[in-house]
Amino acid sequence: MTTRVGVVTFPGSLDDRDAQRAVRLAGAEPVALWHRDKDLHQVDAVVLPGGFSYGDYLRCGAISRFSPVMATIIEQAKLGMPVLGICNGFQVLCESHLLPGALTRNDSLHFVCRDQKLRIENATTAWTTDYSAGQEIVVPLKNGEGRFVADAHVLDELEAEGRVVARYLDLNPNGSYRDIAGITNAAGNVVGLMPHPEHAVEPLTGPTTEGLGFFTSVLKQLVNA
């Protein structure tokens, strides 16, 4: 049976099609999920894509977090379903309290768009087992509010428990505390990532194909489960 990976479309999502494409290239079946539909249509995992859901009104991700589809995703994530939030999806996961901390305005106040070098710090989450710890990859990054903040206690806890999934290398593009580009929950099934692995899955359109590992990782995890 083909593994089904849902990709949610909120009003204002931009990268849902690219995320679906990445899922397909990884060998799974992408399933379009709609923000007003509580039903997850028997998917095995969910990607929350990048974009500007609900126009980023109030705070990025604050309104999406209360959408009908998120009620089911939050419930299933707590039961262990793999969820990857990319960029705006990461913001939704923080607003949902599935991940700690918050994403705030870049310290430069500029929207940043660049090919970003990252170091994978945790290669044991549902979304990173196809990498090795310490591996360096380059994927696109594009955000205006990507600065990860949390209080010192939470940051220390994330570090101590190995829950920093990826860190910015060479340059911190947005002022994120401790160069954090992505984190995971305690169980390792929920991952939030500010850069965009779904834009680095094909040589024609990406700087590398090093983003594909996030999508192949979850596929292996689900097949072996």
């Binding site: 109030l58 705070r59 604050a62 209360f66 923080c94 607003e95 700690p100 901390g101 918050a102 705030t104 305005r105 870049n106 310290d107 430069s108 106040l109 600065r147 903040v149 949390a150 209080d151 002022g175």
Partner: protein
């Protein structure tokens, strides 16, 4: 109709780059002597019924769960006088 105002501000320890940008622009425009600027949000809620303890409790709940992200923001709730 009664009006309740919810003010939301970034916590003091959270960097406010927008406030900083405003603060840096002020002297250029001739507004001297402003040491710091913090930028926040103000919500004006018009209530259909009376502002009683129950209504205020519900508004505090809305502020806590939705209007503010208490990971990075503080909020205050106050009732605005009639006729304003």
């Amino acid at each position: 109709m009664a009006r309740v105002v919810v003010d939301v501000m970034l916590k003091p320890e959270i960097l406010d780059p927008q406030g900083q940008a405003v603060q840096r622009a002020l002297p250029r425009l001739g507004f001297a002597g402003i040491a710091d600027v913090r930028q926040g949000k103000r919500f004006e809620l018009e209530l259909e019924g009376p502002v009683d303890d129950a209504a205020l409790a519900r508004i505090r709940e809305a502020a806590e769960t939705f209007l503010a992200n208490t990971v990075i923001e503080d909020f205050t709730v106050r009732v605005e006088e009639e006729g304003k």
